[in-house]
């Protein structure tokens, strides 16, 4: 089921939550809507679900070619998973999952036996066999979210929509559930959209990332694409940590911190620009080695983790961060207060 969003706008009073948004979700893909809070990502998801109405005359939303703008949520056959699970707390896990089947009109409702089989299949799918009789209050957060997912899948939805599905979980469960959702999607291939403000989550789980800011789409692309070739300053800043410099462009080259290097995108520019370098795209050396580099002083070292992080101070007082693989850091053996040379391999200019 492909979804086409065309020129969609949505206002809440004077606040414009979405401003002329268009994009496609191809059949069977897992798409992340990523952005800071207030960027309109949840509003967009709720519009796709039908939990929110479009502004009159402001765009269209199609499932395949069917315009669903006027369709209420209960007719759309969407599976919606809420951040805080929204389980029916007076119903057992079994009844929660069976709910969507039980409310079907009599002619379409499966027999009791079919419902029981279907619920048990789903319990197996979400790895909660034997939990059918429990109540939501007796489950952990991760289990509740899996029940919510099984409940949404029970009605064989055309699309699966997840609103910050991992938002209320603690870090470890979050990572587990993240991997598990990715695997589940690879098995079921149901067109899915999930909202998140966590860039790591979006880059890890999604086939395609839609970056949103202030009610507009900033960039759409594969995780590698948006990470390595950010098209706007916002995307550059939002996807991971970045060092910012003031610079001056001359054609393909850019001058900053007393060095001149080529911009990564090869675009010809002139005049004042902003220069961005990711911490892992900085090489830190004990002394000059011929490549363009600038001096810096080590302020702090954090060697815990997969990479060593160095906080560095530039001669003009500016602060930057560099990340080195552990073996390189060992060879550098630079302690606090020592002078080093910094060489950027890759420079993004906007």
């Amino acid at each position: 089921m492909s979804i086409k969003v065309r020129n969609v706008s949505k206002s809440f009073g004077a606040f414009k939550a979405l401003d002329d948004v268009s994009f496609d979700i191809p059949t069977g893909e897992l798409v992340a809507l990523l952005g800071p809070s207030g960027s309109g990502k949840t509003t967009l998801l709720r519009l796709i679900a039908g939990l929110e109405d479009l502004d009159p005359g402001a765009g269209s939303i199609r499932y395949y070619e069917e315009d669903v703008a006027g369709q209420p949520v209960r007719k759309r056959r969407v599976g919606f998973v809420f951040q805080h699970y929204a389980l029916f707390r007076h119903m057992s896990v079994f009844e929660n999952i069976a709910f969507g089947l039980r409310v079907l009109p009599r002619a379409k409702r499966p027999s009791r036996k079919r419902i029981r089989e279907r619920v048990h299949d789903l319990l197996g799918l979400v790895q909660l066999e034997g939990m059918a009789g429990r109540y939501p209050s007796q489950l952990s957060g991760g289990q509740r979210q899996r029940v919510a997912l099984a409940r949404a899948l029970a009605v064989e939805p055309r699309v699966l929509l997840l609103d910050e599905p991992f938002g209320a979980l603690d870090a470890k469960v979050r990572t587990e559930l993240r991997h598990w959702i990715r695997k589940l999607h690879d098995d079921l291939h149901i067109t899915s959209v999930f909202v998140t403000h966590d860039q790591e989550e979006a880059l890890e789980v999604a086939d395609r990332v839609v970056l949103m800011n202030q009610g507009r789409i900033e960039q759409i692309g594969s995780p590698a694409d948006v990470y390595h070739s950010p098209q706007t300053e916002f995307v550059m800043n939002f996807l991971g940590q970045v060092n910012t410099f003031r610079g001056h462009a001359h054609g393909r080259d850019v001058e900053f911190a007393d060095i001149s290097v080529a911009a990564s995108d090869g675009v010809i520019r002139h005049g004042d620009v902003r220069v961005f370098v990711r911490p892992h795209e900085l090489e830190v050396l004990p002394q000059k080695n011929g490549k363009p580099g600038f001096p810096a002083t080590v302020l702090r070292v954090n060697a815990a983790g997969a990479v060593a992080r160095l906080d560095l101070q530039l001669p003009d007082g500016g602060l930057i961060t560099a990340e080195l693989p552990q073996d390189r850091f060992a060879r550098l053996s630079a302690g606090t207060g020592e002078k080093v040379f910094v060489t950027p391999h890759r420079v993004h200019v906007f």
Binding site: A49, V73, R74, R76, R77, F82, V103, Y135, A152
Partner: protein
């Protein structure tokens, strides 16, 4: 040496003090007057008590008081639910006013409500006139009693339901809708079961209040023995005739019955709460 009964302060301080105050307070305010009631009744022999209680006029008043209270509490269950729903779920101009209006039956002297309702529902009143055309006696009838009891019971249902409905996140309703449930199915299968404990508590309170209500009913009921005479009125009548023991026996019988009813409702409530928050 370890002292076996050394007092250790608990994690939550103040238990002995607050428990002591609770017992003393409840004793003074509730238990001693009730004990007085039992003591006074004990002046009668068992057979005297029994004859007083199964008197036709007394039994008729029991049926009326309990029946009308149940009807009134049931009406409030439905309409109180709707009122609470509107107040919690929809912002509308004047909501604060409507919210304050709900408390009015609490605040008004019951005699004033009684007189106002009587004037309204009497044959020459604004509502009583049209009603008499379709053959219903507004005031001076059982219908009138139910109206008065409904009036005084409404705040109980609304005020107990409001927090429960506010507590029910709207995403639960959205979840039901996304799963294909219609509006009515959502209310019936999701909203009502979720607030059932609060509904029952409101019902129980409205019922209990209605059984004991005197002031507002005596004006509108007409007080015809066997027909529109409520039990509290009968008790007052006995007292006016200096038949204190007779009055307390009736009161005790009514009290016992109400107590059993409240226990049953409470039991259902505990059962349904246990299911939701195990």
């Amino acid at each position: 040496m370890r002292r076996p009964f050394k007092r250790r302060p608990g994690k939550i301080p103040g238990f002995p003090l607050t428990m002591g105050i609770t017992i003393t307070y409840l004793g003074l305010i509730v238990l001693i007057p009730l004990a007085g009631l039992v003591l006074k009744t004990a002046q009668l022999s068992w057979s005297q008590f029994w004859t007083t209680v199964i008197d036709d006029r007394v039994l008729a008043s029991f049926r009326l008081s309990i029946g009308a209270s149940l009807v009134a509490a049931t009406i409030n269950l439905f309409f109180g639910f709707i009122v609470a729903w509107v107040l919690v779920r929809y912002p509308f101009p004047g909501r604060k006013m409507v919210d304050a209006l709900v408390d009015l039956p609490f605040a008004m002297p019951t005699a004033v409500s009684g007189i106002a309702l009587t004037a309204l529902y009497a044959r020459n009143g604004w509502l009583g006139g049209p009603l008499s055309h379709v053959g219903i006696n507004g005031a001076f009838s059982r219908f009138g009693i139910v109206i008065a009891l409904t009036f005084i019971g409404l705040p109980f249902v609304v005020r107990t339901l409001q927090p429960a409905l506010a507590d029910l996140e709207s995403d639960v309703e959205e979840a039901a809708a996304s799963l294909g449930a219609g509006r009515l199915q959502t209310v019936r299968r999701v909203v009502v079961p979720a607030v059932l404990p609060a509904l029952l508590a409101g019902f129980a309170m409205a019922f209990a209040r209605a059984v004991g209500e005197y002031g507002s009913v005596v004006f509108i009921s007409g007080n015809m023995p066997m027909k529109t005479e409520i039990t509290p009125l009968l008790i007052v009548t006995k007292l006016e005739q200096y038949d204190v023991a007779g009055a307390t026996s009736i009161a005790l019988a009514l009290l016992a019955f109400s107590f059993v009813m409240l226990l049953v409702i409470n039991g259902i409530q505990v059962w349904s709460t246990a299911r939701t928050r195990a």
